[in-house]
């Protein structure tokens, strides 16, 4: 079974962000990065499937500047077979521009499955997986929380608002992975050592044209500082009074 997992390098969301002087990007000074949350789940799913339905190959693919090699090495340390960097100095915001580059890379790869996280935690668009599937004309199921594969086809469950649906699809297919399906493994020391010898190829990304452009980035206004109105159950009447007369939400 041959599986590609597309992963994105995103800023560590615990950081305090500031806006760069161009006002359309984040200040990169001291920025720490990590693999996107959902991409970690996708990689774990890929590794487990390869183990279960092996022998197999798991290829991690990331589009971005050389800094993405760090998360590709992490993917290799977790167990991926090889890695591909689609090199570009600046990752566009436009999902279609990115999907075009990924589709170019993946088209001739002979993959049984192409996995994505359901969205990148930074740009929070959640469009690249389904777009790549369309450009490749492959069946696609998005935001899945359960997955079973059998003999050239699969069944997935996806959560909706207040409901869930069961979805059947043939392979090859593109799947985007939601949280809760599998907890990403930690790389072992042995894995980290082995990753250094695994192949990591770099080639230029064939980005599509972008027509979704960042015009401005701003930090939202800070919430007013928190206010503790009292201690213990005796503060409850005051809370209700404030909710009714000040916040007017009851």
């Amino acid at each position: 079974m041959k599986i590609a997992v597309c992963i994105k390098r995103v800023p560590d969301m615990e950081m305090r962000f500031s806006i760069a002087t161009d006002r359309t990007s984040l200040d990169q000074t001291g920025m720490k990065y990590e693999m996107g949350d959902f991409d970690g789940y996708a990689l774990e799913v890929g590794l487990q499937l390869a183990e279960k339905h092996g022998p197999g190959e798991v290829v991690v693919v990331s589009l971005g500047p050389d800094g993405v090699q760090e998360i590709l090495r992490k993917g290799l340390a977790m167990g991926a077979t090889r890695a591909v960097q689609l090199k570009v100095d600046h990752v566009p915001f436009d999902g279609l521009a990115i999907a075009s580059a990924l589709a170019e890379e993946l088209r001739s790869g002979g993959y049984d499955l192409i996995l994505f996280g359901r969205m990148a935690t930074d740009t929070a668009n959640g469009t690249v997986g389904a777009m790549t599937a369309e450009l490749l004309d492959l069946p696609c199921v998005t935001g899945i929380s359960q997955l079973e594969l059998a003999d050239g086809s699969g069944t997935a469950r996806r959560d909706l608002e207040g409901a869930s649906e069961s979805v059947e699809f043939p392979l090859p297919a593109v799947l985007t992975i939601d949280e809760g399906i599998a907890r990403p493994r930690l790389a072992s020391l042995k894995g980290i050592m082995a990753a250094k010898k695994k192949p990591l190829e770099t080639r230029p990304a064939q980005l599509g044209p972008a027509s979704l452009i960042v015009q401005r980035m701003e930090l939202p206004a800070d919430r007013p500082p928190g206010r503790i109105i009292g201690e213990g159950a005796d503060a409850v009447p005051e809370l209700l009074r404030l909710l009714q007369t000040e916040a007017k939400v009851l």
């Binding site: 959902f38 740009t123 959640g126 696609c140 207040g162 979704l212 919430r223």
Partner: protein, 329 residues
């Protein structure tokens, strides 16, 4: 004058609230650019056409109805082919979807088929002469991104709950369309739809959310949270990632960076310390109440109203008092 399209989402034979939101947004866009027509697309099993009139209330001039016995449930490939074909033949300035689970699946497929970009999870928008400007919360709500869509048609998926459906009656004349591909030929098939609970309010649609964290100490103590939500009446119950990871609550209840992003009018955090991961999912709530025993917990830094103390005393009292308020209300 430009024409705008809205995708009207349905489930189990009925329209969803987000359908009215999409039509309302399209009406706003049309009215802001000279009062052009709004068209809606409605797909489903036979009988769907009866809902067209309801879309007229929010400003649809024309409703394209696609009825087929094979469309009892969502069919991503038929929907994507049919909606993109309609957009292609319609000269639309923009098409509106919502960033619901179904909309997030459908909209990027349509965009890719049309080779245009899409602005996702949009909270505000403005149609200009040569572009559509859209506000999009990114970086787990920590950065407001203003996006410019230069292509035409511009595709937009709206964050659910950010457009208030408004009455703007229009004719809603009906035209029927055939599915662009035979539903039986679709590769991806939704074989089953399971409603989790018909009585439970969805987190994304609730104006009040009561949410519980590790401070509740055990799964069974979530009853305190549920009782409070029941006393309020129209409240949904959420949880932190720590709680869903421990299996106290289903994963679908998780509010946070990797769970649901919510913006209710009132968010009551019970026994929640306020990890960044959680704050990412609820920091845009209008009013935040926190109940926690640790006065230094980060949740108190963003809570409009905090009460420090033992939640096992405070929450039952709040439930009692809330019942009185609601019965007089």
């Amino acid at each position: 004058m430009s024409t705008f399209l809205a995708f009207a989402e349905t489930r189990a034979g009925g329209l969803r609230k987000v359908a009215f939101e999409a039509v309302t947004a399209a009406r706003q866009a049309a009215d802001s650019t000279g009062g052009g027509e709004v068209h809606a697309v409605l797909l489903g099993a036979p009988g769907m056409a009866q809902h067209a009139r309801a879309l007229g209330r929010n400003g649809a001039d024309l409703v394209y109805v696609v009825e087929h016995s094979g469309l009892e449930r969502y069919n991503p490939e038929v929907y994507a082919a049919t909606v993109s074909e309609r957009i292609r033949s319609g000269q639309y300035r923009a098409a509106f979807f919502t960033a619901s689970a179904e909309g997030r699946d459908l909209a990027p497929r349509v965009a890719a088929r049309l080779r245009v970009s899409i602005a996702s999870d949009v909270t505000e928008f403005e149609v200009q002469n040569d572009a559509v400007i859209a506000q999009h919360p990114g970086y787990t709500g920590k950065v407001n991104v203003t996006l410019k869509l230069t292509g035409s048609p511009a595709l937009i998926s709206l964050r659910p709950g950010f457009v208030t459906p408004a009455e703007q009656p229009r004719g809603a004349r009906v035209e029927t369309l055939e599915p662009a591909i035979d539903p039986a030929a679709a590769r991806v098939k939704v074989t089953e739809l399971t409603q989790r609970s018909t009585t439970k309010l969805d987190l994304g649609e609730a104006s009040i959310i009561v949410s519980g964290g590790r401070g509740l100490r055990a799964a069974e103590n979530f009853k305190l949270v549920e009782d409070l939500a029941a006393a309020i009446g129209n409240a949904a119950v959420g949880a932190t990632r720590a709680v869903t990871d421990d299996g106290w609550r289903p994963a679908t209840d998780q509010i946070g960076q990797t769970g649901r992003l919510v913006s209710p009018d009132l968010y009551i955090a019970v026994g929640i310390s306020g990890a960044i991961q959680h704050l990412a999912g609820m920091r845009t709530a209008k009013t935040i109440v926190a109940i926690n025993k640790d006065k230094d917990a980060p949740i108190f830094k963003i809570a409009d109203y905090g009460i420090v103390g033992d939640l096992f005393e405070i929450v039952p009292r709040l439930t009692d008092e809330m019942k009185k308020v609601r019965s007089h209300g």
